[in-house]
Point group: C2
Chain length 457, copies 2
């Protein structure tokens, strides 16, 4: 079979983006501002600089500057694992017998196993530049913690990770990757922090939660001279750094004169989806092109498809700023699905606003269907995907099958955010036919939403 | 810093090799022939075709044809994960403050996690082409079994893997990757085969060995209509397929007019080293260029540096053909080092002969030094390497440090065969300071060597 488009489109190093793109600058109606948890008023740069280092706080609040230069040190780091390939899924197309053309932007070819490294190196860089000693963060399954450990090891920055205790004990391999990179990994709740000690006392034997780990990481940052807290998703700064995904994808498509019709990404906090779609949304806003954009979320944690658009806390501990976003309520505890990276009660305020404006569609998919798509993809495309990424695969396959019925020669681009090498417990459950498809009931969602803070601006 | 050479050299798809290179065809003194285990005479194509499928048996015995066309179907599969990048280790050079230029050919960017896939797809393809139903194999830690599962899933071929029982139980994740790819994974010794039942009866509760798993896989292939046995290293056919590594590496170097001085690879059975060095050795034989080639083996299993060059069985069960090779004796049981892929008593007969002729040097390194190198590499180059591959990293770092002393601007190329994502138990031992550096005693080696079969041709 003759292929005019290569299996993998790699940009040359000189074609790699030199600037990140801040889609908020071009949005006519901007995402609502973050609120201070203390005053419930829009948070100031000064206030935010206590939590994040100065440059990142600036990026967080800036919704007018469209482009930010990527510092040369970060570009050098990117060169170690980027550009990531835009892959033509010839084998998947053949398997599905679809007239659709399917492409995926593969972000898993690095030791962190996902796109998280794109923002981890940026956040670590600005912390280092400000003369900080180190950073603190939380991690659930460990993808973000791993990425941050790698970035900190590269720059010689101390890295303290609060890892949810049940993951720390049940998923020792990611923990060991972090330790190999020199990170200090503490099971949370720990006895290092006030909040950790309180929770350990209140709930003896608890195996922790993400909400608790965030609170510990924030407290640890505040309590140590020369430390700041960093976060791997949801934030505007993270979407800015992750725009490198979309910019590369767009450059690769342009290089071969390919026009995407549908762009698909999995969505938990929105870091990958927001980054992937940024430049395409920019074109839509300017009337230069039109795309169908689909955010795919798990049926077990459906913030876009079943949540409300309102101000809410970003963390369960209510120590971080509030954001206006699609949310299930910061008290919502998602079921123990295997896509840990998508178990978040809210959605990045930028993605939320784009969804609210109708520029982004959303759909939710069930876990078992997701793993069926993952397995098919692994067999024909040779990459074992992360459960999170497989949500996008599911939707892409569904779209391609629809094209088979209609005969449309659509071009579908989806984000393959990472690999599933550390998720084999989930695959085992799937292989053994023991995977569940839990969805929250109407009553359960209502209860969590009713418990939201009453904030109206 | 200005870089005239990119961080990663990727060939274009049209520059990828269309033929494998069979270095034996150009060797003036050829490797000694395989012997039939039944007659101890050179094995015939007819005899070998009972074990391997016909085309592979031909490749195994052919030491006169220099080039074999890579079938288009295999080239299409290669395009999914190849060309693999030749990476300039700028960050490692900087860290070491060496004048040396360091490059590595990175074979780990695929779900099997190593170079094994290069031969797995070829062996599965020829089996399929011959109309076989499936293949059987053994696997220790699971790298080869994973690669074969992926290749078989792609081609729709049944795949039966006998996995050493202790790995099956202690390393469930690779097992689940294989199952996800549809392979039938059986803990060995099993009750499926005569030899398995015998061993289970003789040694109740045994956790198995590679030698036993080989014997079971061979028996299973022989006992099923339409099945053949396949093997991931040592064999000539494997080195032939793996020549794609060296051919790509050489093409990438040539593209940027880079002349390698030293080429380094880890060596267990010789599949990676043999493939990497093939085209360079070809040049040396023809007097076109000169290289220093270094095989790096573990001090715990030092076949080249402490073995003898003689005929020996390739497997502990003595059912496979005999090969003339550097060997520690087929009864040698390597200590439980963490580089499972290098725990083999012998060395590919081609690599052995090249070593015997002085074209390849060898050195052995200790486990702890290997992991120190692995950790340094992971931190500065962003890739967590497999323990096997890290043997080559250790030697490359040692060479680069020597250059620092002498001021030589040597160009060092080494093979980075894979990633360590499924080897975190080993890293944990290292992180906890509990790694041992066992080396076999003189008496232990002598005992195993004395037990060799007395064969002289």
């Amino acid at each position: 079979m003759k292929k005019e488009i290569p299996y993998k489109i790699y940009l040359e190093e000189r074609e790699m983006p030199k600037q990140w793109y801040n889609v908020r600058a071009d949005m006519k109606k901007k995402p609502a501002p973050l609120l201070s948890p203390a005053t419930l008023a829009p948070i100031t740069l000064e206030e935010l600089s206590h939590v994040f280092c100065k440059e990142l706080a600036k990026q967080e609040l800036d919704d007018t500057t469209p482009y930010f230069d990527i510092p040369e040190e970060i570009r050098n780091f990117y060169r170690m694992y980027r550009p990531s390939p835009l892959v033509r899924a010839y084998c998947l197309e053949e398997k599905l017998e679809t007239p659709a053309h399917i492409y995926y932007k593969f972000e898993g070819n690095n030791t962190s196993g996902s796109h998280k490294l794109n923002s981890a190196i940026a956040q670590a860089y600005y912390a280092k530049k400000q003369g900080l000693k180190g950073v603190t963060t939380e991690t659930g399954a460990g993808q973000w913690g791993t990425a941050l450990s790698m970035a900190c090891a590269y720059l010689g920055l101390d890295c303290q990770v609060y890892m949810v205790k049940c993951s720390y004990e049940q998923k020792p391999f990611r923990r060991e990757v972090m330790r190999t990179y020199g990170a200090n990994v503490t099971p949370s709740p720990s006895m290092n922090t006030e909040v950790g000690r309180r929770i350990n006392k209140e709930f003896p034997g608890t195996t922790g939660s993400l909400g608790c780990a965030i609170s510990e990481a924030v407290e640890a940052a505040m309590g140590q001279e020369g430390y700041r807290y960093v976060l791997g998703s949801v934030l505007n700064q993270v979407l800015l750094h992750q725009s490198v995904i979309g910019l590369e994808a767009k450059a690769a498509l342009d290089k071969y004169h390919i026009k995407a019709d549908t762009i698909i990404g999995c969505a938990g906090g929105g870091s990958n989806l927001g980054g992937l779609i940024s430049p395409f949304v920019g074109q839509m806003i300017k009337g230069e092109a039109d795309y169908e954009i689909i955010a795919v979320e798990p049926a077990s944690c459906p913030s876009l498809t079943r949540g409300v658009y309102a101000y809410d806390y970003c963390d369960t501990g209510k120590v971080c700023p509030l954001a206006k976003m699609y949310t299930l309520g910061s008290g919502f505890i998602p079921s123990a699905s295997h896509a840990g990276g998508l178990r978040y009660h809210g959605m990045s305020s930028t993605v939320s606003e784009l969804y609210h404006q109708g520029m982004v569609k959303a759909r939710s998919v069930k876990q078992t269907e997701v793993f069926q798509a993952a397995q098919m993809f692994a067999k024909v495309e040779g990459i074992l995907p992360a459960p999170e990424s497989s949500h996008a695969i599911r939707a892409a396959i569904d779209e391609a099958l629809r094209c088979k019925e209609t005969g449309e020669e659509k071009t579908i681009v989806f984000g393959l955010t990472g690999t599933g090498y550390f998720d084999m417990v989930a695959y085992q459950k799937f292989n053994d036919g023991e995977m569940s498809d839990y969805m929250p009931s109407h009553e359960e969602l209502k209860k969590a939403l009713d418990a939201r803070p009453k904030v109206n601006l």
